[in-house]
Subunit: 503 residues, 2 copies
């Protein structure tokens, strides 16, 4: 989808923040229960970073989590690629000065208590900025959680990652990258992401961005070959013009989904105490998002669902929705939500209706939404019906309700003394080959996404097959309609940029 | 909360639809894979209905799912309390006529293919209406899935229920009842309900409501001592004036949450093909909901979260929200959403701030939202801080982020070679006693609800403790703000009805 120059990304100054060869860690200890740094060092170790190149620095401890600790960075025999600092804020300047003396050029400063803490904090900020200038150090933070990189030395290290955040959950590797002024949005959400199949490549906690900011991160991800979609959580934009320029460049090839958290009274007060940013008016941000083609939302769940949607790299050509369901109620609700979002749920042509007729039970009305009532012919449901719809050219996307895990139903039938047939005893991955593969080929060829709803929920083994294959599946029917609406919106933006744009 | 006359409810004509003493089932077979009725009979049997009083009626089969089948209802030695009919539509009149001859006074007609199927279907509808009139039969449907009653012969039958729907999942028993023009909303959602802790007492699928309608169901639930909250999925209101009257009576004591699925073009087309209803303008429904104090939504997830919220029977006095979090980002987002919904996130008074100071880490700003940054003192988080907030009288509800399952974190620490302490090795139910009980007492006394967010998700054992105890818990932070907003809205409605209203 995107034209990528891998070398540009490798030569970017941020590349080594995400792929350092050695790390000095300041402020970690063995005391997990009251020391956030302990958990962060733990995650770096358990991510698979070469142990011999992790250097805990500690004034007293000699051994931290099985690693030899040094009293000062000046004692090390090599110059670490990256300094990772989790100290109390007033200890940061001294340590950063020593990093400079040693020749370290990159730091991540986790410590909070800078400009978000009033005038004393601002003074402290200026101090570290001056030290960084003096020694030519670039740094992320302060007041951040650092970075997560699923592609750390990938593909050499297939099972490894670099995770400096304190949350122990690790997301699955994927083509979505996050940049956030909130460590929570950059990491606490990993459980949720794993549950619904949001697969993350990089997650970057920007903090107060005193030295490296959103624009730098965007500039890096623009050319990152492993990133196809970008999620932004924003409390402030420091370089407005540059932000708009880079965002426009990116959205012409990679979608961006953004949350702007400011714009109301208490939210702005909260942001002032959080990253020390002065949050601006909502309307300004809305205008920026519109101009740059950024998809925005105020909802954390929409944020991740939209990212997951774009990660499939299938952008439909228009806004006409076809609905397949065995439930009139859910069909009506989706039709209503779609129309309220400006989508079209068109009546099918007579030609399409006659093509659908053989696959639909006699008691069902053939219309859009197509309510199959009680349908047990899975092949019609999964393949024949969506195929006819897609090939008709009358719709740009499909939502299909009733992706039931068949095996669980068979199990209930057996327990209940009912007969099932051997030909149904097919493992889920074979069912996937039978029901999903043929239609997925068509989905890709025609760029008509099919969203599935599996009411048994994400933990269901059949639903898990969808998640494994990055086929969009949902547990209920609110979200797929919204996801199609942002796809259609982004498609429209791309068409406006380039009237010849055909995905 | 509600003044209930149990006898009124027992004497209501619908009581015996939900608590029949015997059932004749038409149209069930042994062939689960293509016969919806087979699954329905299965659920009736597995719900624990006395087998000797289930009478399958079938022209050919002699034994259905282990029960003796009869050729005709006329052959039975007793008059069944309820006839349950899942036949093809054109077979329904003959069978209903025989029910009448036998003396059956109640029927649930599942069969589709009536008025939702055009003029032939309307003729068929009139036919069954005439038969019902002739024999004085009341019936639910046609085109429905019947009833679910968790309180079937309760408390005698602690482990039993009556479930005529075909979905095999059974919700947990609770004080929420559903009335729906959609079998899906009345049953397919049971998986979701179980996941998030929506506990259901009765679920009633109304279908085409040719004989028994929403108003009848509402009239029954109004006095049902087991129902504290009612969820409505509406495609049409047949008796507008009566609906408004009964809804007003109910909402003055029990909250109602409603979805109206019509009001847009494709949705109305879908409804016409679903229940054959003529859906009306959205604005009319909005006006009805406003007048009657019904909380409405277009979202199926909001619907269930709102029901779950009201099921706690805690109605706050106002709209001022206090936010406790260890995450500035999630605090800012909640503050923004709250303010956009018309809620207030007030700054705390100096008095409250000084009361909070001892419980808050020194690097944290004391404000609302209260961002605790990295807080490991669980007792302060769960008890001291919310207690001070509630006792201050400055807020009407609290949302607390960071209800982490502590045991999983300890496990990670141990695996990582870290030390933990024995006093932390407390089972979750004891932690509940320590962290939740004291505050829940205050929540009830002061009617200040506390919503928790547990980012590890609903399957986490600590989160499950909340669900077991009906303490509102969420996996992320979009929904708790919305839930408080509908509580505040309902509280305002009740106050308008009765200016002296104090929950």
């Amino acid at each position: 989808m995107t034209e990528i120059n891998r070398d540009i990304s490798k030569n970017h100054f941020l590349y080594h923040f995400l792929n350092p060869e050695s790390i000095a860690v300041f402020g970690a200890s063995n005391s997990f229960l009251d020391n956030m740094g302990a958990m962060m060092l733990r995650n770096i170790i358990f991510g698979g970073f070469p142990k011999e190149r992790i250097y805990p620095i500690h004034p007293k401890l000699e051994n931290i989590q099985g690693l030899k600790a040094h009293k000062s960075i000046l004692d090390l025999s090599e110059v670490p690629d990256l300094a990772f600092i989790i100290l109390r804020p007033y200890n940061v300047p001294k340590v950063l000065e020593e990093c400079g003396e040693k020749g370290v050029k990159r730091a991540i400063i986790v410590s909070g208590g800078f400009r978000e803490f009033g005038s004393d904090g601002i003074q402290l900020s200026n101090k570290i900025l001056n030290i960084a200038r003096k020694y030519d150090i670039r740094f992320i933070g302060p007041n951040c959680l650092g970075v997560y990189n699923a592609f750390y030395n990938y593909p050499e290290f297939e099972d490894k990652c670099l995770n400096t955040m304190w949350i122990y959950e690790t997301p699955e590797r994927g083509n979505i990258s996050i940049i956030a002024h909130s460590g929570t949005v950059a990491s606490h959400v990993f459980w949720y992401c794993n549950r619904i199949g949001v697969k993350i490549g990089k997650s970057l906690s920007a903090g107060n961005e005193e030295n490296i900011d959103l624009v730098d991160f965007l500039d890096y991800l623009k050319d990152d070959p492993e990133t196809d979609v970008i999620g932004l959580y924003i409390e402030e934009i420091k370089r407005g013009k540059e932000f708009i320029d880079i965002a426009k460049k990116i959205t012409s090839v990679k979608p961006i989904v953004a949350i702007y958290a400011g714009g109301t009274e208490a939210a702005s007060r909260s942001i002032m105490g959080h990253t020390g940013s002065i949050a601006g008016d909502n309307k300004i941000f809305e205008a920026v998002f519109k101009e740059t083609g950024i998809i925005s939302t105020d909802s954390i769940k929409e944020f991740f669902y939209y990212l997951r949607t774009f990660s499939t790299n299938i952008i439909p050509n228009g806004n006409r929705l076809g609905i397949i369901t065995d439930s009139g109620g859910c069909g009506a609700m989706m039709a209503k939500s779609a129309e309220k979002l400006g989508l079209i749920v068109p009546e099918f042509s007579d030609e399409l209706k006659s093509k659908l007729k053989p696959y639909v039970p006699p008691v069902a009305n053939i219309d859009n939404p197509l309510d199959l009532t009680f349908q047990f012919n899975q092949y019609n449901l999964y393949v024949k019906i969506p195929k006819a719809m897609i090939n008709s050219g009358e719709i740009d996307a499909i939502i299909m309700y009733a992706a039931f895990g068949f095996k669980e139903i068979l199990e209930v039938i057996k327990i209940s003394g009912g007969k099932t047939y051997e030909e149904f005893e097919v493992p889920n991955h074979m069912l996937k080959g039978l029901y999903l593969k043929p239609i997925q080929r068509l989905v890709k060829k025609k760029e008509v996404p099919v969203f599935y709803i599996g009411p048994q929920g994400y933990s269901n083994p059949w639903v898990q097959e969808f998640i494994k294959s990055n086929i969009p599946i949902f547990d209920l029917w609110d979200m797929p309609v919204k996801c199609f609406s942002v796809l259609a919106k982004y498609s429209e933006y791309r068409k406006k940029l380039n009237p010849n744009f055909k995905i």
